[in-house]
C-alpha cells in the first residue's frame, strides 16, 4: 500500500516519461482554461469586491450568443469567416449591454452593501441569464465555430522520450491567448490610474465614492472586461467540448484556482490555474486509481486548502489586515 502511494507513481513517471509530459501538458492546458475563468472572477472582485458567481454562466451565455449570431448570419448567406467575425463583434456588444444592465439594475442600488449581499445578487443574475439564455438559444448543445474564427484544429504530434506526445493546436492557441490577456490585465491594474481606482473601489465603496471615483463607470468597464474574458473562455472551452449549459459547472473549477492565487491577483489566477491544473491531472493520473478514481472532483480543493492553511490570503492575494 505504502509502495503504491509513495513509490509506484514516481516509478511510473520515470518509466513512461512521454506520458508524464503529456500529463503535464494536459494539466497546463486545463490550468490555463481554469485561469481564464478565474480571471473573470478576479477582474470583478478586484474592482468592486463583488464575488461574481455569474461568471460561469457568462461564459456559456457569451458562447451561445456568438454561435447564435453566427447561425443567423450564415443562414442569411454570409460566408463563414465574415459571419463569424460579425458575430464576434455583435457578441462583444451584447456583453457590453449586459455590463450596463448589471451595473444599472443590480450594482448601483446595492452600493456599499456587504460582500455577501452582492455575491447573492450575482446569483440572481445567474438565474436570469440561465432563464433568458435557454429561452433564446434552447437547451441543446451547439458546436463552437472554431475554424471560422481561424482557430487551428488538429494536433502536433512530437516523438519524444520513447513515445508520442500530442499537442492540440487549439490548446496551444488557448495558452497563448490567455497569457497575453493576463499579462495585459496585470499591467493595467498595477500601472494605470483606472487600475488604481479599481483597487480603491474594491477596498471600500464608501471611501471611493467620497474621493470622486465614479463607481458606475468603473463597474461598466470591469463587467465589460469580464464579459470579454468570458467570451474568450467560452470560445476556448466550447472548442474542446460543446457549448451548452453543462459548461456552467466547469466554472466551479475556477474557485480553487481563484483562492489559491488570491482573489485579487491577476498573476495569481494564472499561477493558481497552473498549479491546480497540473496538480489535479497528476493526482488523478497517478494516484487516482488507488482511490477508485474520480478524485479530480475534490483534489483541486484539497490542494487549495493546503496552500491556504499556509497562506490564508492565497499566494498573491492582498494581505488580510488585522489591526486594532
Amino acid at each position: 500500500m505504502l509502495y503504491n502511494i509513495f513509490i509506484d507513481p514516481f516509478v511510473q513517471m520515470v518509466q513512461m516519461p512521454d506520458l508524464l509530459v503529456q500529463t503535464l501538458w494536459e494539466g497546463l492546458v486545463s490550468g490555463v482554461l481554469y485561469a481564464l475563468i478565474a480571471l473573470g472572477f478576479v477582474l470583478i472582485f478586484k474592482a468592486s469586491g463583488v464575488f461574481n458567481f455569474a461568471q460561469g454562466i457568462m461564459v456559456v451565455f457569451s458562447a451561445l450568443t456568438l454561435v447564435g449570431f453566427y447561425e443567423k448570419f450564415s443562414a442569411a448567406g454570409f460566408s463563414g469567416h465574415t459571419a463569424a467575425f460579425v458575430a464576434l463583434i455583435l457578441t462583444a456588444g451584447v456583453m457590453f449591454v449586459l455590463a450596463m444592465l448589471v451595473e444599472r439594475v443590480v450594482l448601483r442600488p446595492l452600493v456599499n452593501q456587504p460582500d455577501i449581499i452582492l455575491f447573492m445578487a450575482t446569483f440572481g443574475v445567474t438565474y436570469v441569464l440561465i432563464g433568458f439564455g435557454e429561452m433564446v438559444f434552447g437547451g441543446d448543445p451547439k458546436q463552437m465555430i472554431a475554424s471560422e474564427l481561424f482557430l487551428p484544429s488538429g494536433s502536433v504530434d512530437v516523438e519524444m522520450l520513447g513515445g508520442l506526445v500530442s499537442f492540440q493546436k487549439i490548446d496551444i492557441a488557448a495558452a497563448v491567448i490567455a497569457s497575453v490577456m493576463i499579462v495585459g490585465l496585470a499591467l493595467f491594474f498595477q500601472k494605470t490610474r483606472i487600475g488604481r481606482a479599481l483597487r480603491a473601489v474594491a477596498d471600500s465603496h464608501k471611501a471611493a465614492l467620497s474621493v470622486g471615483i465614479s463607481l458606475n463607470q468603473i463597474w461598466v468597464i470591469v463587467w465589460f472586461a469580464a464579459g470579454l474574458v468570458a467570451l474568450v473562455t467560452g470560445i476556448m472551452w466550447g472548442a474542446r467540448s460543446d457549448v451548452s449549459f453543462a459548461l456552467e459547472i466547469v466554472a466551479l473549477k475556477a474557485l480553487p484556482v481563484l483562492v489559491l492565487g488570491g482573489l485579487t491577483s491577476v498573476p495569481g489566477a494564472i499561477v493558481g490555474g497552473l498549479i491546480i491544473g497540473i496538480g489535479e491531472k497528476l493526482g488523478e493520473f497517478y494516484w487516482g486509481p488507488l482511490l477508485g478514481g474520480g478524485i479530480e472532483s475534490w483534489f483541486a480543493y484539497a490542494i487549495a486548502l493546503l496552500f491556504l492553511l499556509y497562506r490564508p490570503q492565497g499566494l498573491f492575494g492582498d494581505k488580510i489586515i488585522e489591526r486594532i
Binding site: G139, Q143, R240, S241, D242, I249, E280
Partner: protein, 417 residues
C-alpha cells in the same frame, strides 16, 4: 364530462442534460399527439398529454410526480435513473406503473418483486453483455475470445453508470478480461482529459461508454484527440447524432447499441410529419430532427405506452383505463411484427412481449456505427447473455426486497395470457 386518459411526460428541455432530453421529449410528445390528432386518441378516448419539466433533477422530478398524481396518471416515465429509484416503492402504493425504458434499476425486470415497474426492452446489464459479445465477434469468435483482453469502461459516476459495476466484476473474473474503470463525475462531464490520459496509458483494447448529456459528446471528442481507434469505442444506447458530430470526421466508426431504426422512413413518422410537425403542433426545431436516434427513442417509448393502454382497454373492456389497468396492459404487452406493421413501424424494431414475471423482455439489440452523418446498423441483433445476467438479477431483486424489508409480496393477480 368526456372521458380521457391522462399521460404525463416527465421531460427535460432545460439544464445540463437538455441536449439529450429535448429530442426524447419531442419524440414522446409527437407520437401521442399524432394519436390524438389522427385517431382521436386510443380506442376513441382522448389522451391528455402534459409535460412536466424535471431538468433531470431528482427533487424536481418528485415534485412533478406529486403534482401529476392527483390527476390520475395511467403511467409515468421519469427519464432518469435518479428519479426512478424513489418511485419504485411508491408505485405499488399509488397504483401508478412506472415505465423506465431501458434504464433505471436493472433488477426491476423481475415482475414478481416489482409488479409496478417496467423497463423493456433490455437492462443496462443486458446492454453490457451485448457489447461484450460484439467485441468477441470482432475478435473473431466466441465469448472466450475476451480472455486476456483489456476493456475500459468510462461512465457517468452516478447510479446509472455504476449499475453495471457488479456485473463487470463478476464477468471479468469468469471471462478472463481485465476491466479498467474510468469514472467521470457529473461536474467533470466536459473535462475528461485525465480519464483519457489514463486511457492513453492503459491502452485498453476496447472502450465501453455509459454516458448521458454532455458527457457523451466530450468523450467522443477526447477519444478522437487521444487517437483512440473509433471502431473499438462502443457505447450503451444513449448517444445521439449531435454527440458524434462535434468531433468531426475523426468520430467516424464510433459505435453504439440500439434496438430500433434511425431515420424517418416509416409510415408512422410520415404521419407525424404531416399531422403534427407540419401542423405546428410539435416543438422540434427542424424537420431533420424527426428520425434522429433519440427522437425515435421517444417514439418507441410512446409506442409502448400507447400499446399498453390499448391492451388495458382490451383486457378490461373499459375505455378510460386507470393506472392499475395499464399495469395489466403492460404485463400483457405483445407487439408482434403484424402489430408493428399496423402501427406504421414495420421494421422499426423487434417484437416486444412482456409477461408477469418478466417486465423487461431482455430483447436483442444491435450495434450501429457513426458514418459522419448518421448511424448505420453494422451488426445483427445480439441477445444478452441471460445465463450470466439472470442469476445476478434474481439475487439482486432478492437483496433489494430484503434491504427494503418489509417489501410487499406481489399481490397483483396475473392475467395469464
Amino acid at each position: 364530462q368526456e372521458e380521457s386518459i391522462y399521460v404525463p411526460l416527465f421531460t427535460y428541455r432545460t439544464g445540463p442534460f437538455a441536449g439529450s432530453g429535448t429530442p426524447i421529449a419531442n419524440g414522446m410528445h409527437d407520437y401521442l399527439t399524432l394519436l390524438n390528432e389522427r385517431d382521436g386518441g386510443i380506442g376513441g378516448v382522448k389522451l391528455i398529454v402534459e409535460e412536466c419539466e424535471t431538468g433531470y433533477d431528482t427533487k424536481k422530478g418528485l415534485e412533478c410526480y406529486e403534482s401529476v398524481k392527483p390527476k390520475k396518471p395511467v403511467i409515468v416515465n421519469p427519464w432518469s435513473t435518479g428519479i426512478t429509484l424513489p418511485l419504485i416503492p411508491k408505485a405499488a402504493v399509488d397504483k401508478i406503473p412506472v415505465l423506465s425504458m431501458a434504464y433505471g434499476l436493472s433488477a426491476s425486470a423481475k415482475g414478481d418483486t416489482f409488479p409496478w415497474i417496467f423497463n423493456p426492452p433490455a437492462t443496462y446489464w443486458d446492454g453490457f453483455t451485448q457489447i461484450l459479445q460484439y467485441i468477441a465477434t470482432q475478435e473473431g469468435g466466441g465469448i472466450d475470445k475476451l480472455k486476456g483482453k483489456k476493456i475500459g469502461y468510462i461512465y457517468l459516476d452516478a447510479s446509472f453508470g455504476r449499475e453495471p459495476l457488479p456485473l463487470i466484476e463478476q464477468l471479468s473474473k469468469e471471462l478472463g478480461f481485465e476491466a479498467k474503470l474510468y469514472p467521470v463525475a457529473a461536474a467533470d462531464m466536459q473535462n475528461q482529459s485525465s480519464q483519457w490520459l489514463s486511457v492513453r496509458r492503459d491502452k485498453p483494447d476496447y472502450m465501453i461508454l455509459y454516458g448521458w448529456g454532455a458527457l457523451n459528446a466530450t468523450a467522443v471528442k477526447e477519444a478522437v484527440k487521444t487517437n483512440y481507434p473509433m471502431e473499438k469505442f462502443i457505447s450503451i444506447w444513449w448517444p445521439s447524432e449531435d454527440d458524434a458530430k462535434g468531433a468531426g470526421d475523426g468520430a467516424k466508426g464510433f459505435k453504439t447499441l440500439n434496438w430500433h431504426a434511425v431515420g424517418a422512413d416509416f409510415p408512422l413518422l410520415a404521419d407525424i410529419q404531416k399531422h403534427v410537425v407540419d401542423a405546428g403542433k410539435s416543438q422540434v426545431s427542424g424537420k431533420d430532427k424527426v428520425g434522429q436516434v433519440l427522437y425515435n427513442r421517444g417514439i418507441y417509448n410512446s409506442m409502448l405506452i400507447a400499446e399498453a393502454i390499448r391492451k388495458a382497454q382490451e383486457i378490461t373492456g373499459k375505455k378510460a383505463v386507470t393506472g392499475e389497468d395499464v399495469r395489466r396492459g403492460l404485463e400483457g404487452l405483445n407487439i408482434d411484427e403484424a402489430r408493428l406493421k399496423e402501427i406504421g413501424l414495420e421494421g422499426f424494431t423487434g417484437a416486444v412481449k412482456l409477461s408477469c414475471a418478466d417486465h423487461n423482455g431482455h430483447f436483442s439489440t444491435f450495434v450501429q456505427s457513426w458514418n459522419g452523418t448518421t448511424y448505420e446498423k453494422v451488426s445483427d441483433y445480439i441477445a444478452p447473455m441471460s445465463d450470466k445476467v439472470g442469476p445476478l438479477l434474481d439475487a439482486d431483486a432478492k437483496a433489494y426486497a430484503e434491504k427494503n424489508a418489509p417489501w410487499p409480496a406481489r399481490a397483483e393477480a396475473c392475467d395469464a395470457s
